[in-house]
């Protein structure tokens, strides 16, 4: 138990961070500090008697002050605009944890093993930079943390969540729901992959175990649900939650052909400028420019980004090459190590996790008709 322990959660306004804060307060009785980079998105964490600390991820003094007096630091923050800054941030946080004797629980990702091999995948799987910024950054941070454990006696553990879904689950809950409500979601018909879904509470519980167990130090733990489901089943559960059939199955070759159709893509871009930002090379440039904008101009840029021409046809969400690889993968994430060393046991199978997620979807999206 972390009862009466002082813990810092970075990225506390994000999906995992926020649910962790809820559990730390309501189940653990911990004294929680939340590190935020601005006050804009504090609505969910402000429901609790938590201390909010404002600091940027490159602010050495600010991070040090936030970590001083903490028993545990859960590092969930991730800067998407300037991703390489996350490596520096992890170094500053690791240093401060070491100085103040706090245990660090670093939230990494299953993506460090991309491209996933088919079959069982555990922490011994190949984890090498693959040219994708997110994967490469997370791998570099893991290496940094493990080096500090080995050579500088930092007390740290790394959790590697799989496909995290659940209430306020952002990438693998809110995004699928919004897409299914807005249009047509295309999945590969002839490459039925496995979705290693894990309910958000199980991830938060695994992180708490990684903070408590001495066996966790210096280790990486894959965290997933009891067993994978197919991606088709994963999306079907969200279709059921919103009461609409919005998934279309297409052969992989057809998806690739449509992705390359210049005229069709131009039309889509004119209807919705944000599609342009989904083109990886331009996305990098736009994110860089966006990071340099002041808040007023950012708002205007976001308005343009979210513009959608009146009367435009329903959106079509085609998977890109990276998503195709994920949706086609037959990898099965193994959680034996987390079971053995942390005592982790997922409390939610997919049915139970989706039951609660469905309740959330129908609460959060009034336009979702339900079953």
């Amino acid at each position: 138990m972390l009862k009466d322990k002082t813990v810092l959660v970075t990225g506390a306004t994000g999906a995992i961070g926020c649910r962790l804060v809820e559990k730390l307060v309501l189940e653990q009785g911990a004294k929680v500090r939340c590190l935020v980079r601005n006050y804009n998105r504090c609505a969910r964490i402000a429901r609790f008697p938590v201390e909010t600390v404002l600091a940027q991820l490159d602010d050495k003094e600010g991070l040090d002050a936030a970590i001083a007096g903490c028993d545990v630091v859960f590092h969930c923050a991730y800067e998407w605009v300037a991703q390489k800054a996350n490596i520096t941030a992890a170094g500053l946080i690791a240093d401060a944890c070491q100085r103040h004797g706090a245990r660090l629980v670093h939230v990494s990702t299953m993506a460090v093993y991309f491209p996933l091999p088919d079959g069982p995948v555990d922490e011994g799987a190949r984890s090498e930079p693959n040219g994708k910024l997110y994967t490469d950054t997370k791998i570099a941070i893991e290496a940094l943390v493990l080096d500090r454990v080995k050579n500088h006696r930092l007390e740290a553990a790394i959790v590697q969540p799989a496909i995290v879904y659940g209430p306020f689950g952002a990438i693998w809950t809110d995004v699928p729901v919004k897409n299914l409500l807005a249009g047509e979601v295309v999945l590969p018909e002839d490459a039925v992959g496995l979705c290693n879904a894990v309910y958000i509470d199980d991830v938060a519980d695994a992180m708490i175990l990684a903070a408590e167990r001495k066996e966790a130090v210096g280790e990486r733990f894959l965290v997933s649900g009891p067993r994978p489901v197919t991606w088709h089943a994963f999306y079907a559960a969200f279709e059921e939650a919103i009461g609409a059939k919005s998934v279309t199955l297409l052969p992989v070759a057809e998806i690739r052909r449509q992705n390359k159709n210049l005229v069709a893509n131009l039309k889509l871009i004119l209807n919705e400028p944000k599609r342009l930002a989904q083109w990886p090379p331009l996305r990098k440039l736009l994110l860089f420019v966006y990071g340099k904008l002041g808040s007023g101009i950012r708002q205007k840029a976001l308005k343009l980004y979210h513009f959608r021409r009146k009367g435009a046809p329903r959106e079509v969400f085609l998977p890109d090459e990276e998503q195709l690889a994920l949706f086609s993968s037959r990898a099965e994430i193994r959680i034996d190590k987390a079971r053995r060393l942390l005592g982790y046991e997922p409390a939610f199978d997919f049915d139970e996790g989706m039951r609660l997620t469905r309740a959330y979807v129908q609460w959060a999206y009034p336009q979702a008709a339900g079953e």
Binding site: E27, Q28, C42, A43, A46, P366
Partner: protein, 355 residues
């Protein structure tokens, strides 16, 4: 008052946070009003704004030396500071436009009402939505009885909150006085009072666990017999509309949607309030114009010594409803939260039925 009202009133701003920087000052600039005084504990902020908006003096604290410098003041300090600041200004004859809510308790509101009534100064409350043409029109429709006797209403307003904030005062109960209920909700409580009169009974639940609520649900029975619900959120996009069912018809207007939507029978839609029907109104949401209308209305009241559009008694009425909500509060138990500790963080308030 310390100056001749026939001259252009000198306006001070007390509290210079994000709403002042991004809404009030740009509006004042458009209207050709230069602030005579900017007061905020953040000296760098007041200096920055004074330079940007050609303001006059700056100060970190309002004091007696400032009373001769201004005729009117916009109070946009944290909510719990509204009462002492307003009382100070009113007692020194300075007209006030106070950001909503006027105060955070009924007792404080009553002190402000008493101060207004004992003074010759004017106090207007910054319920910006009252200056939206569609809201003015809806008020006109209801007053003209076009919907007949109102039987029910259902108001929902929510979005994943991501507004630029300069401080965390909005998230600290001791400074803000509450969460979504006193931030978004105070506007709706004002409209409920303006449109449907006094409430008789209130049921209220929210998701607060010892901080400030992000989501809440109010169920009301009005003295008129009408029943209504108000749902507010800072975590999710809601329907964002007000639906009013009357004996003669139904009206739905959007609330703060990017494009204004109005649904009613043709004869209701044909109704013109001050010469305007919904078809004549701008289609796109333009909150800047509401701020301009509010400021213009306040300055006109100051110049002409007229009762402002939103009075201190209106401010009191809205706070009476929010305070009653907190008094009868029940926890909103969302199935996925599942607290395991027997915590006192979400204890219900002792139930109380408001008269």
């Amino acid at each position: 008052m310390t100056s001749d009202k026939s001259t252009e009133p000198r306006l001070g701003i007390i509290g210079c946070g994000a709403i002042v920087e991004h809404a009030h000052l740009p509006t004042m600039k458009e209207l050709g009003i230069r602030p005579a005084l900017l007061v905020d504990p953040d000296e760098a902020q007041t200096r920055k704004l004074a330079a940007k908006f050609k303001g006059g003096a700056t100060a970190t604290k309002l004091g007696p030396s400032h009373y001769d410098m201004i005729d009117a003041a916009l109070v946009a300090a944290p909510n719990t500071l509204h009462t002492p600041i307003c009382l100070d200004l009113l007692q020194n004859g300075i007209d006030v436009l106070v950001e909503k809510p006027m105060a955070t308790t009924v007792a404080d509101c009553e002190r402000i009402v008493a101060a207004v009534e004992a003074s010759e100064a004017i106090l207007a409350v910054g319920y910006i939505m009252r200056h939206a043409p569609i809201i003015e029109w809806t008020t006109g429709v209801l007053k003209a009885g076009l919907l007949g006797e109102v039987r029910s209403f259902d108001i929902s307003w929510g979005e994943a909150f991501d507004w630029g904030l300069n401080s965390n005062s909005l998230w600290r109960k001791e400074v803000s006085g509450g969460g979504v209920l006193v931030d978004f909700g105070t506007h709706i409580c004002d409209l409920v009072g303006e449109w449907f009169g006094d409430f008789a009974t209130v049921d209220y639940r929210d998701d607060n666990y010892g901080g400030v609520e992000a989501d809440c649900l109010i169920e009301l029975e009005m003295a008129s017999g009408a029943k209504g619900t108000v749902e507010l959120s800072k975590t999710r996009s809601l329907r964002n509309s007000a639906v009013i069912e009357g004996a003669k018809g139904r009206l739905e207007i959007s609330i703060l949607k990017p494009v204004q939507e109005v649904s009613a029978s043709d004869d209701v839609l044909a109704y013109r309030h001050e010469g305007m029907a919904p078809a004549d109104m701008p289609e796109r949401l333009d909150m800047n114009s509401w701020f301009a209308r509010q400021m213009k209305s306040f300055m006109d009241s100051v110049r002409q010594r007229e009762t402002p559009r939103v009075t201190a008694r209106d401010g009191l009425r809205s706070v009476r409803l929010t305070e009653t909500c907190y008094e009868v509060r029940q926890p909103w138990e969302l199935p996925w939260v599942r607290p395991k500790l027997q915590t006192k963080l979400q204890q219900p308030s002792p139930a109380r039925e408001s008269a």
